[in-house]
Amino acid sequence: MRYVPFLITTLVTIALIILFNSTLLLPAPLGKILSPQHGIWQNAEPADQDYNEQVSIPGLKAAAEVYIDDRLVPHVFAQNAEDVYFIQGYLHAKFRLWQMEFQTHVAAGRLCEVLGDEVNGNNLLNAVDRQFRRLGMGYAAEKALEESEKDAETKAEMDAYTAGINAWISRLPESQLPIEYKLLGYKPEPWTNLKSSLFLKYMSLDLAGSEDDFEYTNARTVFGWEDFQKLFPTSQDSLDPILPKGTLFEQAGLALKIPVDADSLYFQRKDSTAITQTKPDRDNGSNNWAVAGSKTKSGAPILCNDPHLGLNLPSLWFEMQLSGPGYNAYGATFPGAPAVVIGFNDSCAFGFTNAMRDVRDYYEIRFRDESRKEYFFNGEWQPTEFRYERIRIKGKPDFVDTVAYTLFGPVMYDTTYDGKRNTGGRNYSVRWKAHDKGNALKMFTLLNRARNYDDYYSALQYLDVPGQNCLFASKAGDIAIWNQGSFPAKWARQGDFIMPGTDSSYMWQGTIPQAENPHEVNPERGFISSANQYPVDPSVYPYFLGGSYPPYRGITINRHLSSMSDITAQDMMKMQTDNYNVFAEMARPLLTKYIQTGALSEAEKKCYDILRSWNLRNDPDERGATVFVLTWDSLETEVFSDEYAQTDLTLPWPHESTLLEILLKDSAFRFIENINTPETETTASVITAAFKKAAAKYIQLESSDDFLWWDFKNTGIMHLARIPSFSSVHLPIGGGQHIINATKSDHGPSWRMIVHLSRETEAYGIYPGGQSGNPGSRYYDDYVEDWVKGSYKKLWMMKKEQAADKRIKWIMTFNKGA
């Protein structure tokens, strides 16, 4: 009996420890998380954190130094290329480990393993993990890696990069784990080359995985082939392509055969599917342009690039200088992969925009029976192969997804998976360029070392997916662009809809030969630009391009560049952050022409005046931009919502340019008529009604003080795990869709770079984030304010002799350890 008080208190203590060490009752293991020697407090690095370090690692080949400047940009100086990548891996891990692993977990369909299968009512298993697995992300990464590793040089570089990351991980005490691991309750696993490959496939998905094949198939069925072509045209009146109109093309090197039954089985087919997909942002795109010396004040070319991607913290980008023998590159790197991705070296600069081409198509598969063991192809039953995807789920038993593979690729949708959407018992196999073998990574490592146009051209040969507009400018004075990638040669509209997969007639018939990829070298007009518009005039290019191409940023850019001369880097900054809205310039006259002012109330008239007197700039404090966007959105709803409400099928929404161009030339557009009302609508009555609804919304916004453009647009940079207090929200920044400064609410210029290739390179850049991935570091989001303001940081290509420069704050020395 005398031990009873002891036993009881001991049990209570142990129970409390278990409680505070787990999530049995609490949302988080508070003891573990709050312990000052283990938990989150350990991530609160001192404001004057000392990054000096002496590192002794067996994996290195020789000694190396890293000079870290006052913006926390590391300048790596190593004695051979492998050590450069080893140290790059080490530093990526040191500053960004959690995001690197998290992004590759997402790519691999392993989110449930970390977060469980349900977050805020979203079923992660079906919506994310199974979708990624069944798309064959892991399969694609494995195939690419196999190809990369056949190249001895790439393999050595990837191995070194991986070893560098693992050197960091193996030295990482639990107390120093990035805070997200502590909050989510898991630990990093060793890095592998496959993870780097997965990361690159993740980018492929982001940039080459947003076609609308299912939605287009539905739309063709609901509206009919004629109307479909009107709503989803394959060119634009306002088009100003990357290669100017009038550029001539040879006849296609590949003769394509349109299937004989295409008319009945494809174009006119009545077919529908209720599949909707979680897809990358349609505006994943970018601006890049280069001006030749003839247009600049100094006589040296200037190259500019700003990739528009999802805005997140920690940022997708990490700034670095990588220097070794025959190697000196500076720019934005991807934590997760070796090399500089967008940047410059001592001879040239390189940048990218997305090519927007459609390289992912779906084929309907006929299985012999439920077992999915055989499918019908070219008159025979062919065996499928199965890939077993074991999905670990936090706190639950594993889920095994059995995915059938045909010669097209994985059967993404079948009776075992519809993503909770009705596929009507049909099976769809996905044919995706990203499943083909390739070593895209090599393009970057070669570009980092490129000295001239020829080097750049040979580097490009390695880019397969995602297709990009690869821009180049050199100190020798050359400017060039290649619309580069491994693009399937398609006949008109091939792959816009689901295709029959029972024989080979609808398959891709080849890859567009390299020489026929659109390109331009040192054009007479003295500049080259791309902003995700059509690379060429589609009516003269011998292959079908597929994909969707926003026209307006390109128009604004070309307008600026043609009129400019004596250009300086400062002019380019002004241009890169320009908020002029050329779409509004073309659309507003249509609105003001048709709005019946006599039918407006006093309050509505005030809104009308705001719209009419607006300076067409989406600057942060403009009210006109808010009224315009509200009006246009309201107009689209007014025109299309009645027809779209006829069906439960998921339909694509026509592009802004399509509706605008139709209304500008066709006053009898069928969709103007509201099918639910007895009256006959006219363009004027519809636009007036749309404006009245928009005005009502605007007046409401005014009363809640959210009417200024930045307030209304509400740009925020969310933490990758959507933790609000780790995010930077409600930023007073202008811009928006169709504008050079393409900043939308959660998407926009993720890295702005300007490189003036003068004798001494003059370069500027900024990204909305900071070098450290630690929310407890002052370097976590310290660039955001300047990014919002449109200011730039000077990018310093350091020389080793400058080690004593006052910008260098810390030095890490690396030694080959025992």
Binding site: T10, F20, L34, P36, F726
Partner: protein, 141 residues
């Protein structure tokens, strides 16, 4: 004096063991100290409670102030939905204190139980004073 010594020893042992062991090593630390240095249950509890309250509170505050409370602000918004970092520091201190206090109490109870046993063993030859043992712990305090 004994109270102060055990308080300091609990804090010291907790700190040192947490350099190498998981956070809950503070439990065994407080327990061991109160088994070795016996005190009345209430005092033992207080020694453990205050030792960890001060250790964890001070450590958290010190680390956070060097960080200019940058992270604490973000984490308190996340965990306790309040921007007041002092609350997060208090919560930290309180969790440590609860474990420390209870573990110390358990230690004190064990020591008393062992003491009782010894007393019984000792008291057998002397005969019938089994109840004195109950006071033993108190006297020791």
């Amino acid at each position: 004096m004994k109270f102060t010594i055990s308080l300091l020893l609990i804090a010291l042992l907790s700190f040192v063991s947490c350099l190498y062991l998981p956070w809950w090593a503070i439990g065994p630390a407080a327990f061991i100290v109160t088994v070795c240095i016996h005190q009345k249950p209430l005092k033992a509890f207080l020694a453990g409670f205050l030792a960890l309250f001060m250790l964890w509170g001070a450590l958290a505050w010190w680390i956070s102030s060097r960080n200019e409370h940058l992270l604490a602000q973000k984490v308190s918004l996340l965990i306790i939905q309040s921007p007041r970092i002092i609350l997060l520091i208090l919560l930290t201190a309180l969790i440590g204190a609860l474990i420390g206090g209870l573990a110390a109490l358990a230690g004190s109870f064990l020591r008393r139980a062992i003491g009782l046993k010894k007393e019984e063993e000792l008291s057998v030859p002397h005969g019938n004073e089994p109840m004195r043992g109950a006071e033993f712990g108190n006297q020791a305090g």
